[in-house]
């Protein structure tokens, strides 16, 4: 029998006065997965995870998190969840080591090891207000992981971190997941979602508009690859050959610049075709569609960047990491 989902949300609805922020959202987070929640600002991502943690009371819908109802059983649930919240802080004069002591329960890991792992050991005696943005984010991550949570919720995890620190944090999240912890990640960084998440749910206007593995989302909503190269006087047969290649949708010529668009498998076919014609172009560039392209297509609800029609997949098609 398969393990039940760590998070199961059905028909979640939350309004602030007249403004509907979450509107009938369904979401599943299977045990042991890293699931990303992505979408534009104001899509309802943070409100959703706050409801999941029991920090906000939903207007409607059912939620089960680690088997508990976050509304009525928040006291049992919260110690099992580690969270790195958006827009929260610690007291300005609280020292890093004191923060570790304050948040440590009987289940806590050794704070010193985490401080070493995240490069904050030297800042142990520093007060919170003196930490840089990146150092604060790392401290929040340490606090989220401190008490061996079964579910970790990370909201804008690497905001303000430099590239090296981001990689360090990503490695820590992967390690955490390898140890069996389930992660729900809210992010604006598509490269982060692609790097970490097995499943991604895309939110727009308080709903999940599509969900699945990042590669599947790209395939569904932004599969067009674009290849460009210069060839001042291309042989007539070459352009005809390119048009006939499997997956090619469009071949354009503007002066010396040739642009080929089509399914991403054309990258291999076009490359293979070009090496048979001399001289081989030296400035060939390839734009491979990314999760960001898929997200833009989904959020705009219109034709994708590379000319292909993009449809908003109904929410019931596949929920995040959902039951297949």
């Amino acid at each position: 029998m398969s393990e039940p989902d760590v998070v199961s949300v059905r028909g979640l609805r939350k309004s602030y006065r007249a403004r509907v922020v979450v509107d009938g959202l369904d979401l599943d987070v299977p045990a042991g997965e890293i699931v990303g929640l992505i979408g534009a600002n104001g899509a309802g991502k943070t409100t959703t995870v706050e409801c999941v943690q029991g920090l906000r009371r939903p207007d409607a819908g059912t939620l089960r998190v680690l088997g508990y109802d976050p509304v009525t059983q928040a006291g049992q649930l919260r110690p099992l969840v580690g969270s790195q919240l958006q827009d929260s802080a610690l007291p300005d004069r609280l020292r890093v080591a004191e923060a570790i002591d304050l948040f440590s329960t009987a289940r806590a890991r050794a704070g010193g090891e985490l401080l070493e792992q995240f490069g904050l050991a030297a800042r142990r005696r520093s007060v919170f207000s003196s930490l840089s943005g990146g150092e604060r984010q790392r401290l929040f991550l340490i606090l989220a992981l401190l008490n061996r949570p079964r579910l970790v919720i990370l909201d804008e995890l690497t905001q303000g971190l430099d590239p090296a620190a981001r990689r360090n944090v990503w490695a820590a999240v992967r390690q955490l997941n390898d140890e069996g912890t389930t992660v729900l990640l809210v992010t604006h960084e598509m490269d982060e979602a692609e790097a970490l998440c097995g499943q991604v749910a895309v939110m727009r206007s308080g709903r999940v508009v599509d969900a699945g593995a990042p590669a599947d989302l790209v395939e569904r909503h932004a599969s067009t690859a674009t290849i460009r190269f210069s060839m001042p006087d291309p042989p007539a047969g070459l352009l005809d050959l390119l048009r006939r290649l499997d997956g090619v949708r469009q071949v354009e010529r503007s002066g010396a610049l040739v642009t080929v668009r089509g399914h991403r498998r054309i990258i291999a076919y076009v490359g293979a075709a070009l090496v048979r014609w001399e001289p081989v172009p030296t400035d060939l560039s390839v734009h491979v569609p990314s999760l960001e392209d898929a997200l833009l297509g989904l959020l705009n609800g219109e034709t994708g960047e590379h000319g292909e029609p993009v449809a908003c997949t109904p929410a019931d098609k596949e929920l995040a990491g959902g039951r297949r």
Partner: protein, 245 residues
């Protein structure tokens, strides 16, 4: 202390020692004003002060100023700042038990008032002398009850007001009239009847009466004591509900 309340109390006490402005207001303001006003009225027994030494009248009154400064000025700003900056959300998300923060604030507030009161008496003793306590039991009941009431009112204000600035403005707006009318200002006998009527039901006036009258042998002040007790229970219940994580 490894319980959530213990950890919160320890952290809050450490933080308090690093906040000189708050400490100045709670510890130094009552002492300085007591020295000034006690000196202004002298030490000769006066009918305006129910026939007691005015300096002793103020020594017995100013313990409640310490309590009011903690409750009306220090705590609301502290809590509103926590709420405004998301510190309370972080405590809630981290699984701190529902009532732990409210209890921790109550403990920290009571410890602060105890230390500030001891300091005030230590300064008053060599200058004006500490008056003999006539009815120790009533004073011993009124002081902690008043501290609980004002700490709870402070926690409640901090949970209701939208920002630290608003909390500071409202806290001071409540504190100074209460201070002047109910504890540190002129004695009730020299006030006009309207002002006396306004001052009478103020929480700080009730508390000051409940402490000062039995201390100086001016009567049991049972009505004031009951008022303070009711206030303590009501404010504690509402404050605990409002600050539940």
């Amino acid at each position: 202390m490894s319980t959530a309340v213990g950890r919160l109390v320890r952290a809050e006490l450490a933080l308090m020692t690093r906040d000189p402005l708050v400490l100045t207001f709670v510890f130094a303001f009552p002492i300085v004003t007591m020295l000034i006003i006690g000196g202004a009225f002298g030490t000769t027994p006066d009918q305006a002060f129910d026939g007691v030494n005015p300096a002793h009248w103020y020594v017995a009154s100013y313990l409640t100023v310490v309590i009011a400064a903690t409750g009306l000025v220090m705590l609301p700003v502290h809590l509103a700042s926590y709420r405004e900056r998301g510190v309370l959300r972080r405590f809630a998300a981290a699984g701190f038990p529902r009532w732990s923060f409210a209890i921790a604030q109550l403990i920290v507030g009571l410890l602060t008032t105890a230390v500030a009161c001891a300091l005030l008496l230590a300064v008053a003793a060599p200058v004006y002398g500490v008056p003999v306590v006539h009815d120790g039991w009533r004073v011993a009941v009124a002081l902690p009850l008043g501290a609980i009431a004002f700490v709870s009112i402070g926690v409640l204000l901090g949970s209701l007001l939208p920002s630290a600035r608003a909390a500071q403005a409202v806290g001071l707006l409540i504190f100074f009239p209460s201070f002047l009318l109910g504890a540190g200002g002129p004695p009730p006998h020299v006030m006009g009847s309207v002002v006396r009527q306004v001052a009478g039901p103020l929480p700080l006036t009730l508390l000051t009466n409940a402490v000062r009258a039995p201390w100086l042998g001016l009567g049991p002040a049972t009505g004031s004591l009951i008022g303070v007790a009711v206030l303590a229970v009501a404010a504690t219940v509402v404050a605990a509900y409002r600050t539940a994580l």
